[in-house]
Symmetry: none
Subunit: 123 residues, 4 copies
DNA sequence: GTGGTCTAGACCACA
DNA sequence: GTGGTCTAGACCACA
């Protein structure tokens, strides 16, 4: 699972937030399933060459948001997500896409033009 | 023109960057045309209730990037953009859309699913 | 007796302390009487699916506090509690209730309001 | 407002959580009202003789939970709480009181006995 | 000035 | 072994 994580320390995006977003995507896409265990904070930190506290911060937020679950003395694992609570990929993408659409409109683009651009960039 | 600008101080996005992006969009969409003059830094700052230094920073960047032009003793105005140099709406949107596509893929979405979501959110 | 114990590994409360508190309550309420024997550490650990060291720690504390008694070669049993030494339910609850009262006061609640809430939650 | 905060570093309760709870109580009880500004992280840290990061952590959580609001470059302030979103003192106290009631019952106490104890401890 | 991020290093509770 | 807490200190973005 460590191979699925990677981090760019010189991006403007804080490392802890990069990690947070990546792990959310792994969970929402099902690459990390309910009850799968995560490597320990120290292992992740070593693999990514960042400070353990930075990793811990990302994971703490995921626990607070109900994505992960810590049981005492055991590895952190993916929390069960009731049907209701589960976030879909579309839901996760909605805020960013909504904003992008607002910008496209301010730029005077039509729905069709944006579709064309999407097709082109999707490759 | 001041009515076209607005700023959300509690958004995560820095205010100077919100301003910068908005003005770029006004220019690219043609709502601000070549030679149109901008209100003074002080006027903008007052209208938006933000720090003049913040406005100044946004405008300075726009000047550096060739969107705006200062002639001595005169108001800042929209710079002429040769056909070649002009940025299109599509070009402007490309970086954000590229990133969004990368995320959609990490989430396991198909091109078609993203198109559907786009259509739905466009309304 | 094992059926009376249960433990929540994802609660914030350490497992050994959950166990400790439960056993104390069983003794104070009389569900465990003087001279009743406890299952072995290993049996308890297996029944609750927790680490034997964790069980051991809880029991050791109870022995230290005089609730339990080990006689050599025999099972751990509930210690005799002289009338004087016996803890009452009210005594046991006092620290937590005192703290809760302090919080209620900081929140501006009156004695009457807290009584109402107590009645409601008691059902 | 700094006089209203105090912290016990040798309590078992983590400092950042002590601070978090205190500020919540100040908000719920109305001692801190909507739009009131908090002292800066550095000021609080100095007044309480703790590390600024510890203060920051408490405040960050309050922001995440919607109690506080940060606007860029300005002081942190109490967020507006829509009628719906506002937490009452009773709501805030409910989880702890519910647990205490469960314990009282396990101890064989009656509602009346608990009321008596409450009255006595309230003084 | 404000807050945000990150690191290194220490110490502790828990299982 | 695991994670949680705290500190000191550095550096940066923002207004």
């Amino acid at each position: 699972m460590l191979e699925l994580l990677n981090v760019n320390p010189s991006s403007g995006e804080p490392i802890y937030r990069q990690l947070h977003e990546q792990i959310v995507r792994l969970i929402v896409s099902g690459q990390l399933a309910e009850d799968d265990v995560l490597p320990s904070v120290r292992q992740i930190a070593e693999a990514l060459a960042v400070n353990p506290m930075t990793v811990s911060r990302a994971i703490q937020q995921l626990v607070d948001q109900g994505y992960l679950e810590r049981r005492r003395g055991q590895a952190t694992r993916v929390a069960p997500r009731g049907e209701a609570g589960a976030t879909s990929a579309a839901e996760l993408l909605t805020p960013k896409l909504t904003e992008l659409i607002a910008e496209a409109r301010q730029l005077g683009m039509t729905h069709h033009e944006l579709e064309i651009l999407l097709k082109k960039l999707w490759q």
